[in-house]
Symmetry: C2
Subunit: 362 residues, 2 copies
DNA sequence: GAGGTTTGTTGTTGTCTGCAACATATGATG
DNA sequence: CATCATATGTTGCAGACAACAACAAACCTC
């Protein structure tokens, strides 16, 4: 180690300070002292150092109304560290450049031609920003395992080394996460699920995926192929080679990405359509039962088009869940819909990048 | 903080050194220097300190046969830190006192009367050792969530605060883990599964439970009720209130704790018995498929009486698994039996205690 | 305006780890 | 068997760090 001895400790504290500001927004120095458990003088030293390096800005003279010398307010400078996030779908590509503190600095979107490979479009949409950002993260709908997409119904990828392809296209390293996990991280960090210890996010696109996040952190292997839980043993043949997958049933029922327009608007008055909804809701509940028993989450969010499905057809989902999970697992389980809407995956991808950054820093 | 500044760093290094010795056995100082990435002088300072406090012993003059001054061998003193581990079953209680380094210092076992509460027996079997040990951990077959046993088929407990009851019986704090998770930790730490990143241990007792361990660490909520995955929708009523649970099928087939003697020895020549085996193997495979899809392990160990089941009837389990999981999840998945046999849970419980200790120390 | 209160600043102190030089103990070489 | 090369423990020193205490600054209340 060429580094001086206790520099490590300093780095840890610096990272902790930045992370605190990133997560909880602008704060006074006194609040930071409290939150990090460090001495005033230590916070002072770190603050001046980070102010000189341009990562934070201090504004003084904020009278709080209470007694005592007013504390200086510390805020992080978004431009000082940026993370590039991309959400890949079959039909479109979304991009956001997110700054320290969580502010979205740039944002754009492109439609993709059916069947076109998104990788080339990624380098176009990110432009030079990807190279300039500290981290780059791509959210992909499918089963992701350390940079490779093992299976994606939506994109038709099987064992594709997406990280390598992204690096080839843009000239920089990429982290790859699945859309559901990214969205879970997003909802936990910037959404309404901060108090969830074990959060399961269900993402409905052309396929059905799920992501499990423990205490806000993505787990290796937290990417779950909800769509390929078998709900009808010996049932319909699925494109994946299995039989009776939830996704096969979904297709048979005619549900998918355009759920809202096709199904809800068109057929809610129709008894046959309601029956299809109920039956698919049950199938979803059955698959969910197995996942809940196996992973024990305390909160489930219905994202993508599953959001509309759940809002219109919660009862069969709940009752199927009740028939397949133990009371204890159900009692602490909340079922909800995400608050970040369609943005969750993009925001969560960026937050995954920031989490990796803070981990590296310490 | 009343403590001097960099004492924290010192503590971390001390804990790391002890953990290294605990996990990888006696080593030379040079090896420790390499493993911990610290300077020779730092290792020296820590070693003399730990030798004075009685945690390690240094033996010098071990000529290795290679050139250079022979390094002093460092070994931890088992008696200096001990962990009490108890495995609770319906019919018996096992106890082990494990010392630093993993050596079993004491060991005993008692039969329990049917229906008797094990808690009183715990204080008898541990004697004074529980109070004297640094940690005390109890392994319980069932769904464990932070000290409370939410559901245990074997013991008939529902939402029992086992940690509190153990504390009342013995006058000290206890950690509670489920038997399967403990066994998984044991197999990962002292068994043959050290290279598994995500290890799923299946435990067959009177009930069926499973435990998931990531990189050797038990996860909160890693306790899985394998027996209450529903494999026959609308099937037999289970004691838990659900219908078609794997455990209900198991009972119907007449399998259980005494699997080996009753089923294998008696009926392997019998076609009906073989058929029952095959059908239960299939059911197990189905349940397992859902768990594998939801958690994505790279190794599955069949423990308890599932060991014998798997050794005699692997084919239907494997084929059912093949029908319910994606190729990618299966390709990296090894199915095996544990090497620690019946001792896994006890050893793993102790290791869980040591892990908690090392975490506390830093 | 005086006193109390909270917070930033500065100088000091104790502890820590890495580094380099030295001491020590072995094997290899002739 | 003496010498050299090699690997390792030991010691003194320097750089760095965070806590602490005393002080200064800025606010509120009376």
């Amino acid at each position: 180690m060429a580094l001086p001895p206790a520099v490590e400790l300093r780095r840890r504290n610096r990272a902790a300070l930045l992370q605190q500001l990133h997560r909880h927004g602008p704060q006074t120095r006194a609040a930071l002292t409290e939150a990090l458990g460090l001495n005033r003088s230590t916070i002072g030293a770190l603050a001046t150092e980070l102010a000189e390096s341009g990562h934070i800005e201090e504004t003084t003279g904020q009278s709080t109304g209470s007694a005592g010398r007013p504390s200086t307010l510390v805020a992080c400078v978004p431009q000082s560290i940026t993370v590039a996030a991309v959400e890949i779908r079959a039909d479109r590509l979304r991009f956001a450049l997110v700054g320290l503190g969580g502010e979205v600095l740039e944002r754009s979107e492109t439609a993709l031609d059916e069947g076109a490979d998104p990788m080339t479009a990624v380098s176009v949409i990110t432009g030079g920003t990807a190279a300039a950002s500290a981290e780059a993260v791509a959210a992909v709908p499918g089963l992701v395992d350390e940079g490779t997409v093992a299976h994606s119904t939506e994109l038709g990828w099987i064992d594709r080394d997406a990280a390598a392809d992204l690096e080839a296209a843009t000239g920089r390293e990429w982290q790859v996460v699945d859309t559901a996990t990214a969205a879970a991280v997003g909802e936990w960090t910037r959404g309404d699920a901060r108090d969830s210890r074990k959060l399961l996010y269900l993402h409905g696109g052309r396929g059905l995926t799920a992501g499990l996040v423990i205490e806000g952190r993505a787990q290796r292997g937290g990417s779950i192929q909800l769509g390929h839980i078998v709900v009808e043993p010996g049932g319909r043949e699925c494109a994946c080679g299995l039989r009776g997958c939830l996704e096969a049933e979904m297709e048979a029922f005619g549900f998918g990405e355009d759920f809202e327009t096709t199904t809800l608007a068109a057929g809610m008055g129709d008894a046959a359509a309601r029956d299809r909804l109920r039956r698919f809701g049950e199938d979803l509940g059955w698959a969910l039962g197995a996942v809940v028993t196996a992973t024990g989450p305390d909160e489930i969010l219905f994202g993508g088009w599953l959001r509309e499905l759940y809002l219109s057809t919660a009862a069969p989902v709940r009752s199927a869940l009740a028939e397949t999970t133990l009371p204890h697992l159900r009692s602490k389980l909340r079922l909800r819909t995400p608050v970040l809407g369609d943005e969750g995956a993009l925001i969560g991808a960026a937050e995954t990048g920031f989490a990796a950054l803070f981990d590296q820093m310490r």
